[in-house]
Amino acid sequence: MRYSARRSLDRVFKYVFKVTGLLVLLLLGAILAMLIYNSVAFFVDVRPLDFITGLEWNPTGDNPKYGILPLVLSTTLVTVGAMLIAIPLGIGTAAFIAEYARPGLKNILKPTVEMLAAIPSVVIGFLGIVVVGPGIAHAADLANGLNALNGAILLAIMALPTIITVAEDAIHAVPKTYKEASYGVGATKWQTLRKIVIPAAAPGIIAAVMLGVGRAIGETMTVLMATGNASLLPTGMFASVKTMTATIAIEMGEVPYQTTHYFALYAIATVLFIMTLAANMLGEYFINRFRKYHAA
């Protein structure tokens, strides 16, 4: 190739690469614009206060109601339930892998966690219908087991790989000298883990939990398949609930284009976006704090 041709190619590709970088910005901008535009269209018809504080979600009734509260509470209930299961299990497993397991066992446990992460959410949701649901129904003597508890168990399984991986990194990164100092004053391994290692890794573990929360809030298929989808204010873990993601998934297929109901689903998506963004940013904040703390 001639020299000038090589140089122009070099310059052309420099711009091609840069444009792709800028397109990523554009992508996020376009998603935000879509959410804002459609939400604004929704708030022309419905007062924001009615949306945020409304206790009833019934967009198809004669007198449509667009209260997001039941949906937010459903998402919160299922997510909190999931975290009550996943946080102790995740931290326990992470601590075991990082501190107790020998390399050979580690080489089995880590791929196990990765395999769990690889299972598609729709398969987990299916398991919720065929295994967890009947199990709950049998144990609690209910007509069916499609309820908040089912969703929480499934979301816990989905969030576990994230929590285990990030928390294990954090525990693993605690300097050896901390532990040696603790052993030096006669502490047992368990005491060292509880009093020294886990507090030192705390920001990393909080980050793990926040990323797990982000994952759980945004998850669609499992909750859609396993929670029963009754859009009422949730009354407890055995109640059927309809999360924000499930509401969008169910109703978007049925609404006419550009109606109030259609815009309402984008307004839900906006709230969902803000909630996951907050969880992920908190997670990122704690990861950075952990890195800074251990780099110093």
Binding site: I31, L35, F96, R102, I157, K189, G218, G253, Y257, A269
Partner: protein
């Protein structure tokens, strides 16, 4: 049990009494066993009930009689085509963006903004990508609910993961390798094309295959962008709706009018989906493993 634990645990673990030692142990080992148990239950349920359904006939025949009989050839073809389209959109775009960030971008506010956007995009719930695909590709660009619209949507969803994994692969190439190429008179573009990319190919491929395995199992983003309940032919066209394995499983287990009758087919579909995803993950690990061997 002691043989699989790291040596220092044996020397240092001297708890005050036997009971507390058992409790302490129970917590960590118990949570680890429970996590492994989750995976085993999932795999056992799917494999034990799905394997009897899977025959050569099941794989290669079309769904018949309202999908209560026949096989799953149509959703298999749909998922393969969808994943190929996803790869076609996300790989060039993602790799170019990673090249920009790692090879060209200066450390300034614009670069930081792009990186923040990528982190942000990877946390956006998949259902929101589905809404975005609906608004932009299906309605905005008038592609209709189609294979193309769904492929583009999944392409965008995969983009942040491709960028991140590619950048990690590029980061592992030492600067001296780039200097070697520049020193024999290569332009920057030639250095990237001829030296940097081939050297990081295995790392990039590992990330690409893992990302695509995730995309192949996604359901939420294709719900309203092109996945169809039933299609009576195997010929695919990018401007038509398609069947896909994850959507097929969702549909058979929640939407079909005779759910109990199609349950075996649902198990078969779940098993095929899990096998497809695991095979892709194994491929990724194989690429990473051979690359590490090559490094030695």
């Amino acid at each position: 049990m002691a043989s699989i634990l790291s040596t220092d645990s044996e020397n240092i673990m001297q708890p005050k009494n036997k009971l507390s030692s058992i409790l302490e142990w129970g917590t960590l080992v118990g949570s680890t066993i429970l996590v492994c148990f989750f995976l085993l239950v999932i795999l056992w349920e799917i494999f034990s009930k799905g394997s009897s359904v899977i025959t050569w006939e099941f794989i290669r025949s079309l769904p018949t009689e309202g999908m209560t009989k026949g096989g799953i050839l149509t959703p298999i073809i749909g998922t393969v085509m969808l994943t190929l389209l996803t790869a076609l959109f996300s790989i060039p775009f993602g790799v170019c963006c990673a090249i920009y960030l790692n090879e060209y971008a200066e450390s300034n506010w614009l670069t930081r903004l792009i990186r923040a956007s990528i982190r942000n995009l990877s946390g956006v719930p998949s259902i929101i990508y589905g809404l975005f695909g609906l608004a932009l590709f299906v309605q905005g660009l008038q592609l209709g609910t189609s294979l193309l619209a769904a492929g583009l949507t999944l392409g965008l969803l995969s983009l942040p993961y491709i960028i991140t994994t590619t950048e990690e692969a590029l980061l592992r190439i030492p600067n001296s390798t780039r200097e070697a190429a520049l020193a024999v008179g290569a332009t920057k573009f030639e250095t990237i094309k001829d030296i940097v990319l081939p050297s990081s190919m295995s790392g990039i491929l590992t990330g690409v295959v893992l990302t695509l395995s995730r995309a192949a199992g996604e359901t939420a983003p294709i719900l309203f962008t092109g996945a169809a309940f039933y299609i009576n032919q195997t010929s695919v066209s990018v401007n038509q709706e398609f069947m896909a394995l994850p959507y097929h499983l969702y549909m058979l287990s929640t939407q079909h009018q005779s759910i109990d009758e199609v349950r075996p087919i649902a198990y078969g579909t779940a098993l095929v989906l899990v096998i497809v995803v695991f095979l892709m993950n194994l491929t990724a690990f194989y690429i990473r493993y051979t690359y590490r061997q090559h490094e030695k």
